[in-house]
Every structure is written in C-alpha cells, then in structure tokens.
Symmetry: C2
Subunit: 208 residues, 2 copies
DNA sequence: CATTGACTAACGAACGATAGTTAGTTATAA
DNA sequence: TTATAACTAACTATCGTTCGTTAGTCAATG
C-alpha cells in the first residue's frame, strides 16, 4: 500500500496549488486529490495542514539555496582566474538573460516565488524570506558582480551597491511582470537587453 | 436601525482584512465583526462575498485613478510654462521621495497595493490591474518625466523608456520592500536618494 | 397632528456544504 | 510479525448563504 515517495508528491502538489490560490484557499481534499489519495491519508505524512506549508518553506526554499545562481556564485573566485568571463556588455546581457530564463521557467523556483508573493504578508518569517530571495540575495550577487567589473576596469563608479540596484532591480520588476503575464516575456526580454546595454554604456570605464 | 454608511464601512473593513489575509482567508463573520454587525446583515448591502471584492476592485481602485499622481500628472503641460519645476537632481529626488512617502502611507493606496499583491494570480483581471498600477502607469508617468527633462536640456539619452525604467523600477522594488518591512523605510529612503542623484549624474546632459 | 403603510437595514436561527482532523481498520512490504 | 501507509467513516467547527422577523425612517394620507 506504500506508494514510495508520497510525501514528496504532497509537497509538490501543495506548491502547485499554493502558488496559484494561496495556502488558506487550498483545501486538504484538493491536495489529496492532486496526489491521488484520500485526504485522511495526508495525516500519515504531515501532522496537519500548517506542517505542509512549514515543510515547503524549509524544504523547497532550502532547495533554492542550493541551486540558485544568486546564492552560490562568488565573483571573488574570478579574481585570480586566467580566463575571466563576462567582461563585456554583450556577455553580461547574455548571462543575465540566461539567468532570467532559468529562474523564470524552473518550476520549483517560479512556483516558490509566486507562493511567497501571495503569502508575504502572512507573518514576519515569510516577509523576511520574500525579501531575502527577491531582494537581498539578488542584490548581494549583483553588488559582487559590479565590484568584479570595476576591479577589471570594465565599469567605473563610486557606489557599487547603487549600481547593482540600478542593474538588477528593474529586472526583478520585469520578472514579477512575467510571472503574472507570461505572454509578455518576449517584450520584457527585449527591454532587459536594451537596459543592460544602456547600463554598461553609462557606467563604461572609458567614459569617466 | 440604519447606521448610515454601513456599506462604506464594510468596504473599508474588507480592504483592511483582504490586504493582510487575502480574500479567501477572510470570512464574512470577520468582516461583519470588524464593522460591528451580524454576518447576515452584510447581505443587506452585498449580494454575496464575491460582490464585496468586485466593489473594492471597482471602487477603491477607481478612487486610485482619481487621486494617484501617476494617473493624473501630465508633463506636457510644463512645456510652455514660465516656471518649470523639477529641473535638478535635487528637486527630482525631493519630488520622488515625497511621492514615495505619499503612496507608502496613504491608507487606501497601500492597502490596495498589498491586496493586489496577494490576489494577483487569482484571475487575469487582477493580474492586469496589478500590472497597470504597479508598472504601466508608473512607467508612463516617468517616461513622460524623462522626456520632459531631455526637452529641457537637463538629461541626455536615446531611449527615454529605458531611462524611465532605470529610474523608477528600482523604486518599485523598494516600495514593495517597505510594504513587507516598514521598519526598513529610513534605510530604503537613503538608497532612493543616492539612486536618484546617481541617475541624474550618469545621464547629465553636460556629460554627453 | 396623528396614523398608516412601504421601505430599509438590522437581527436570530437555521441551512447544506465543506473545512481540518481523528479513530479505527485493512492491506502491503520488510 | 510488525510497522507503515493507505483506507472508510465520522467528528466538530465554520463556511457562505437564506429565511422570516423586528425595528426604525419617511412620505403620504386622513
């Protein structure tokens, strides 16, 4: 009678539903139906409904920490490297467009992002998590990136944090837009492309 | 037995609750309790629960269209004016900081913004509304602003839309951050200030 | 001026449906 | 044989909603 990985299936089905309807609007029966079991069977795997959300926050979003480009890339490591990637606006645009496509289409990341958008006002823990994933981690990554570009004489500027904000925060807004209206992705990608090239032109070291 | 403006009180109480818990998680009893009546009495004013949300979307967000700076200001009108406001980075920073403080603290606007953030994935109408208020209207306003500054020889740049995005979209992200974590407003305001001055420096017409 | 009647907005009580949850049972796999 | 994970059945609470009633408001009427 054991189906093997039911617990994981419950988490996935829950994320599917929570990321569209939200936690409160999703019923235990709905989750059970999506998994293909009776609702009472859920309680063999989770103490109660809240425990599913808690596990999602810990698990799926912990998974994020492992797989996210923003959480794991360290630009310092390229300091002594012979071959340095991403030193032109073209390479940067390609890199960032690739990252956007990835985090936009990766099922776990995109669903987790939507769920957090819905649940961000529920409690302080979820609020802080949303800030971390949608803002702090991204800002930290791009601040490192900008510093790397300055060190390598590509860009010039006094405040890397502000430069990073100007580079990545518009992109954050565009990602939210694509989450709501996926049809607009091509149009948004075009804007991102123009934006990055413009950014590199304005902060070009040879211009200062 | 008539309390005068019960219908309006119901809408306000509903917005209060929806902007924190969301629509589904808020019960009719909760709304009635906040207003100070029994839940059955709500049905003297609204056909059903959904009708409250519909009225909020139409009413409160229609109110936005009337009062929002972004929906009503037209930069064209300053073309022939003798005294032109906002021609320096200092004035722009002050203006934008004032606007942020306003839309951040105005109770209707901030609650409507949070409610839309929670409900944006419910249906396409709410998704489009969220895009309009959080993105399109703001972008249109700032694109006009940037064009106005270019016409008046303050800024120089080829693509006013991209410039507007670089100016206002980071601010959008910061406003969302303050919605979640109001304590961080001072820190955010400082970033906004730096950001705007940097923006004006980079696109300064005398630099081109 | 007092009475009436229509109208409105509140009420208590109850509805069926569904929520989350528990208990007890059965089948399967180790 | 034992532990686990599924099941059926049932629980209580609450959901959104409806019904019939009551208490005020106001205009028209006598």
């Amino acid at each position: 009678m054991d189906r093997g990985n039911t617990k994981q299936e419950i988490l996935e089905a829950s994320l599917d539903l929570f990321s569209v309807q939200g936690f409160e609007a999703t019923s235990i029966s709905q989750i059970a139906g999506a998994v293909g079991i009776r609702k009472a069977s859920l309680y063999s795997h989770f103490e109660n409904k809240q425990a599913i959300l808690d596990a999602l926050v810990k698990d799926v979003l912990g998974q994020y920490a492992e797989h996210s480009i923003f959480a794991k890339t360290d630009w310092e490591k390229y300091n002594d490297a012979e071959e340095k990637p991403v030193l032109t606006s073209d390479a940067a645009a390609q890199m960032i467009l690739g990252q956007i496509r990835y985090i936009l289409h990766d099922p776990h990341i995109s669903k987790a992002r939507k769920m957090l958008a819905i649940e961000q006002f529920q409690n302080e823990e979820l609020a802080r998590l949303q800030t971390k994933q949608n803002y702090s981690d991204v800002m930290q990554y791009f601040t490192g990136f900008v510093k790397y570009l300055i060190r390598n004489g590509v860009l010039a500027g006094e405040d890397p944090e502000i430069m990073a904000a100007q580079l990545c925060l518009p992109v954050s807004t565009w990602i939210n837009l694509c989450d709501r209206e996926p049809d607009r992705e091509p149009e948004v990608m075009e804007l991102v492309n123009k934006h990055i090239r413009q950014f590199f032109r304005m902060y070009d070291a040879r211009r200062a």
